[in-house]
């Protein structure tokens, strides 16, 4: 609906190339562009405690939307 067949095939090819590189332990040829903006990123085998800590650090960069509060 939003992508042409050519765009979709390109995206799938990039995913396959990344998967092959990952299995070989090589750097990804098409890394996530947002990774360099996120210093809190943890490895895939991070422990639950590491993920929890990472979430708190990430929220400092990208906090959840705040609600509006009033006093009656």
């Amino acid at each position: 609906m939003f992508k042409t067949p050519e765009q979709e095939e390109r995206a799938m090819a990039e995913r396959r190339a990344n998967e092959e590189a990952k299995q070989k332990g090589e750097p990804l040829p098409f890394p996530n562009l947002w990774d360099f903006l996120d210093p809190t990123k943890v490895p895939e085998d991070a422990s639950p405690q590491e993920i929890s800590l990472r979430y708190r650090e990430f929220c400092k960069i990208c906090p959840p939307r705040k609600r509006i509060h009033y006093t009656v």
């Binding site: 609600r67 509006i68 509060h69 009033y70 006093t71 009656v72």
Partner: protein, 239 residues
Amino acid sequence: MSTSQADSLHRLADFKGFLQGLQDIGVEYSVIGGQAVGAYAHRLGRESLSRDLDILAVSEAMERALLWAGRSGFLVRKRPQPRSIPVAFLEWEGREVNILTSSAALTDPAAVFDAARFFHVGDDLAVPVADPFDLLRDKLRVNREKDRPHIAILLDFVAEEAVQAFESETDPRLRLTPARKLLRVTGQRFLPAELARRLTERARTRADYRFLADVDEAFDPAITPSQWLDEVTEILRKR
């Protein structure tokens, strides 16, 4: 229920005990209807009282609320019936509470709750009240004669938000957000004249002038800073 109690008008705080109970059992809901409008009216220094309390909740939340209400001794006058309007009527301390799972333009109670604003009543109670733009959309969809005063209050409230955004926001998009939402909700092409005038007085950014050139029917390009005059003139030409 006595006639005087049935006819008396209330503020949101008058339902504090009931709303505190919902909060204590963790029910997600949003106040809608007249009490919601009254909460925003109060922010404008006005008063808009309503006889009953309308709250919007997902079906599961309604069930939890009804279970709690029954166990707490509240009178459940009507439970939602299959294949009929999903609404339950309760009586709490002589006051009517309506629990709905859908309204004219508020068809996603979870989304309404996510956007709701919290009105703090006392130290311990935070009452989720539907966003004024959601309320306005709903009232305009129904558009009954009795809703006209509520629509007027909500329009005034969101207009003040639009002015406040021009006063205090620095992000070019956030400055325009309330005014844009007002146009989307009302379906109008142009801003109300008085609001447009107030925003024009406070225009500062390139985005402000571009926006006003598009949505202020009486926009005068002569007020535009010279560096943006060409693009504003183009917007006026295409309008």
